[in-house]
Symmetry: C2
Subunit: 321 residues, 2 copies
């Protein structure tokens, strides 16, 4: 174990703090309030178009901090390896972790590695836990949503879920959908700086997709989230794969795309901020918050009237992250 | 998933922060430097005499912070569940997590739950990541060890490893060895307060046991750790089980027992502190730091001369934590 850590993990993830190999990493003082989040990643397969479990594990935790209004600072990395996992696979994943940490502006400061016998875990599981610095003004969150607030998605939806599903089931679609796995920290910080308290809520639309976020927000504020199908960005490959499989892209997971709510009249300003950044150039205004109607989330289909948008149920796509 | 979290996890682990179910937990400012550590737990079986995976996951992370000279504050809890795990097992583990968090003085502030299909994980894996506040004076650590420093263990050794091994192999020893799984935060803080800079290093003797800690320390400072077999506390049940299985208790894992180094002449003061606390009443002075001899770690056996004490090699006892 000491050899594995010394020869494989430290040289790739480096950094003075991690290299000290003490029981706990000493970190400088952080001014003001903190945010902390944890996520375990069990995605299958480990590699998929647009990403892998390593970059996913970093981006997922960076994004949970970012959408909470925190600047991501430190990450811990814990690996559960199945006996027999090729070292070359571990190396690729660690390189991906290192690159994603640079991209997300975080430092990997502590780690742990466990090996379990063949059959006791499926290849490789990763836990990342992150600490960030909460910035003022603190984003109010979905309980503060009000009538007329404008709803935005930061880019084309459903890419991560479809990329993993197509890779797992070896559906030979051409071109294959690619994951949107990417850090949202820069976009979240730019929105906070430009909009201040006019920014009401942000959430990365992971498991359950955009529909799950809208349902959670509707429950939190007691209002209805009303969106227009026509304005929701979906790439041609994702739309094709979803139609083939009978899935709604609104229910499919994203890993670098967020839903944003801003106060009435601020949607255009938010779009300007997002369109100026490479990762969110495809952001669109998809609807608004209204007084509670018959359903917590409604969708105006291109042809036809407004319909309820169901909450995603069950594990439609297990092991997507 | 929302039902599982809402009905099982939140009611047991409660707390305002966790209950908010946001992407990241907002935490108050922490004065001064921090410490951060992570650990994944894959112990098999999940329940063993003296503990279970839940209390172990809390104590292990609390102890990594404590021996680093930090006051444990916040913990995240991430669960990977195998499909089919009985809810009653999850409930017992969560109750154990909750009780251990109280015992260790930490608050569970964020969590994550993943379910993987039957066969993809062995029952239940837990990751805990902890943040604590580093207290002044910061413990210097093993690179600061000097000739004549005194070495202490905080209680009878080898209990955790033997408890798990006997439970796993269903060795019907009477009485069965019980794990020492317990928080060391109070003992570590009491030592820091009483000894100040005279306290050189602390480390909980987990995987690889006391021998592994002594080898790491010898490597860090370039000196020899010289201990006396006769003074190392071993309970009768652990000694019996180790003899039966041909194991050296110095190589067996602990989960609530630490090795402590203090400057020359301070051993008695450290023992007074430890003997006054219930969890460390069995602490003893086991040896001292000497100029580098032939071996990095030596042991004076009861009968015979001083011998090298080998470093634990390989996975003698896999899945012990």
């Amino acid at each position: 174990m000491r050899k594995l850590i010394g020869e494989r993990i430290i040289p790739t993830l480096g950094g003075d703090v991690l290299s000290s190999l003490s029981d706990a990493a000493p970190l400088p003082a952080i001014a003001g309030e903190l945010a902390m989040t944890t996520d375990s990643f069990v995605v299958s397969p480990l590699f998929f178009p647009g990403g892998d479990i390593g970059s996913l594990a970093v981006n997922g935790t960076v994004n949970d901090l970012a959408v909470s209004g925190a600047r991501p600072l430190y990450l811990t990395l814990s690996l559960i390896l199945e006996e027999g996992l090729p070292i070359s696979v571990l190396d690729r994943v660690l390189q991906s972790v290192a690159a994603a940490a640079v991209g997300g502006g975080v430092q990997v400061v502590a780690g742990d590695t466990k090996v379990v016998p063949r059959g006791a875990a499926d290849g490789l599981f990763i836990n990342t836990t992150g600490v960030g610095q909460l910035s003022k003004p603190i984003v109010a969150g979905p309980t503060a949503l009000g009538e007329g607030d404008e709803l935005i998605v930061s880019g084309p939806i459903g890419r991560h879920g479809m990329a993993v599903l197509c890779a797992r089931e070896q559906l030979a679609l051409e071109p294959p959908p690619t994951s949107d796995s990417a850090p949202l920290a820069t976009a979240a910080e730019a929105l906070r700086e430009r909009l201040g308290p006019r920014l009401r809520a942000m959430r990365d639309a992971t498991r359950g997709g955009v529909a799950a976020v809208l349902h959670e927000w509707a429950e939190a504020c007691g209002l209805t989230m009303s969106i227009r199908d026509h304005d929701v960005p979906v790439s041609a490959d994702v739309r094709g794969a979803c139609e083939l499989l009978g899935l709604d892209p609104l229910h499919v997971a994203n890993e670098g795309t967020m839903v944003v709510a801003v106060e009435p009249g601020s949607g255009q300003a938010a779009l300007e901020v997002l369109h100026a950044l490479p990762g969110t150039a495809g952001a669109t205004l998809i609807g608004q918050v209204t007084l509670r109607q018959l359903a917590p989330v409604t969708i105006q289909r291109t042809l036809g009237s407004e319909q309820p948008l169901d909450e995603p149920l069950g594990a439609m796509l297990p092991r997507i992250c």
